[in-house]
Symmetry: C2
Subunit: 341 residues, 2 copies
């Protein structure tokens, strides 16, 4: 495909220093998140490792281990470039094929110790490759024990961040998140979702840009994915990603503060370790960020620092009916709308 | 591709009841292995679950949990059929595209409790699909603490089984195993290998049949992969797979009996749990059997029963130099020839 087949090449409308602007934001996001998480933990500190990628670029990985609140937390910033994107991406963005690329982003996974405190994941990223550029990312919550009020608070905070930019965003990106963080082999959601989006650029059209995977719905199948917008500028999209990134702490920290004091025992711990197995299955089998990292020969320890410190698999486990554990499964089998839209 | 482009269709040379013969052997193999492992464990017994696959076929899964010797052991027999093979296989066997298929096999993974006893994996399988049929499989050992004499015993027993059929087999299938059970993102072998082969059918030519993955060497690059054989009959190949399958117990059980009495403590247990993480990474990211199972919507609990009961990930762990742990890493970074060939 040549760039002449595109409705309009986006690259012409890039502002000066687009890369530096996003890269600076991604680093500040990492700084802000780490500072606040250390304060919340009150015991452990992030260790930082800076690394270079032989093919171009590098990053700084920060890991907090054995904290009072967080059994492990990893917050990665990276900025990589090279002569070509891996197949997992060019399959989705054929216009990028044969071009050098630039990518920067921040990602994070937190594994709390207390099973009543949910695991959370965040990833925002930006790409430039030949005639195209785009933003992607999202944030999603994975509780072990479900509190409806926490799920509503999380989704409401994300919706507020989205709505500050465009009210069309949240309803589409919430559904997209449910589709993305889905384990087909378990027919389960990874958690209670959040927002997710990819391939967001200036071109007008559907907000939902299908990913070509057999498990992605085509927009015709889901009326909630029909929303179209007109042309958006690079500045508008960058502003949206900033609003999303800055929405993380107010979405998550109040939940930690509310659940951390709750007492837990062996039953809750066993269930948490078992459910962490689903996180491993998702990240290693399906997650685009993990696969991108491994395919581009990123720093393995930084890519896999999202994996939990301790995990259990149990053959053919099913929760007892009418227990707090089974309440979680009900929602994982049928993703819920947490807000009145 | 039509069958007329094949050098010769193999299907004409199938013996009567080819499917029944292999299926019967695979079930007997499962029976023999389970009976012996229960005797070795001396405490726990296999639980059997029979299951049907909605699209055709089924299997019987046997799991032993919380044994004296085996923390978890899973031995699966399955026989599945359907209207088409998944892309992961037709990419390698385009002649099978558009044809219905039949597949049967036995697979096994054992996770011992004592870190001095190695983990072991076995899988033998048989396919028929339109104009083609083939055998595949192998067996490999994953020690946590390395004893050279155990590695030599394991490889010698496999070599003897191979040699009973054709002395050309072991040298090629040993290298193929080293290539297959390799984690590119860690630049590590999964363990000390064994034998592995795939796509073995009647057609004359190279024994090594490249798999089209970027990490598979092409035969030109490795002189050890140059061996060619003439036409082999279905009976010869079936006999070879039987010899391999029956070689498992004499290859593994003496190692268990020798290492099980060794005392171990927290250090060894921590290392074992950490190294089990590599097993999870390999099975979920690379293993063809796991991916085939998940893509064909097999029974998830049977496919993933190869995952260890308890696993640990630690950020940026490296063994101390000159320790038993670092001795293992030396061999994982540079696969070794355990026998004088």
């Amino acid at each position: 495909m040549t760039s002449s087949t595109l409705p309009e090449t986006s690259i012409g409308s890039l502002p000066p220093q687009s890369r530096e602007q996003v890269s600076q934001f991604m680093q500040t996001l990492q700084d802000d998140i780490c500072a606040k998480l250390e304060a919340v933990d009150g015991q452990s500190h992030f260790r930082e490792d800076s690394w270079d990628r032989p093919e171009g670029g590098g990053g700084r990985s920060r890991v907090l281990s054995e904290g009072a609140v967080f059994e492990r937390g990893g917050v990665n910033y990276s900025e990589v470039f090279g002569s070509q994107l891996p197949p997992s991406i060019t399959k989705q963005r054929p216009e990028a094929e044969g071009h050098s690329f630039y990518a920067t982003g921040t990602s994070m996974v937190l594994h709390p110790r207390n099973p009543y405190v949910p695991t959370v994941h965040l990833n925002y990223r930006y790409f430039e490759a030949g005639p195209v550029w785009w933003f992607g990312g999202g944030i999603d919550l994975t509780p072990y024990y479900l509190f409806d009020e926490d799920a509503r608070h999380f989704h409401q905070t994300l919706k507020d961040a989205c709505d500050s930019q465009d009210p069309a965003y949240y309803p589409v990106f919430k559904i997209w998140c449910d589709h993305y963080f889905h384990l087909p082999h378990r027919d389960e959601a990874r958690g209670i979702g959040g927002i997710f989006f990819d391939y967001q650029d200036a071109r007008p059209g559907l907000l939902y840009r299908p990913q070509g995977s057999p498990d992605s719905p085509s927009p015709e199948e889901d009326p909630a994915l029909q929303t179209s917008l007109g042309e958006r500028s690079w500045d508008q999209l960058f502003s949206f990603v900033q609003a999303c990134g800055n929405g993380f702490l107010p979405a998550y920290v109040p939940i930690v503060e509310k659940r951390q004091p709750m007492e837990w025992g062996e039953r809750e711990r066993n269930f948490q370790l078992y459910r962490r197995g689903r996180y491993v299955e998702f990240n290693l089998v399906y997650d685009r960020g993990t696969i991108f990292g491994l395919q581009t020969r990123g720093r393995t320890e930084s890519i896999l620092m999202s994996l939990p410190p301790l995990v259990r698999w149990e053959y053919d486990y099913h929760p007892e009916p009418d227990t707090p554990e089974s309440k979680l499964y009900d929602v994982l089998h049928t993703p819920k709308n947490w807000l009145d839209l």
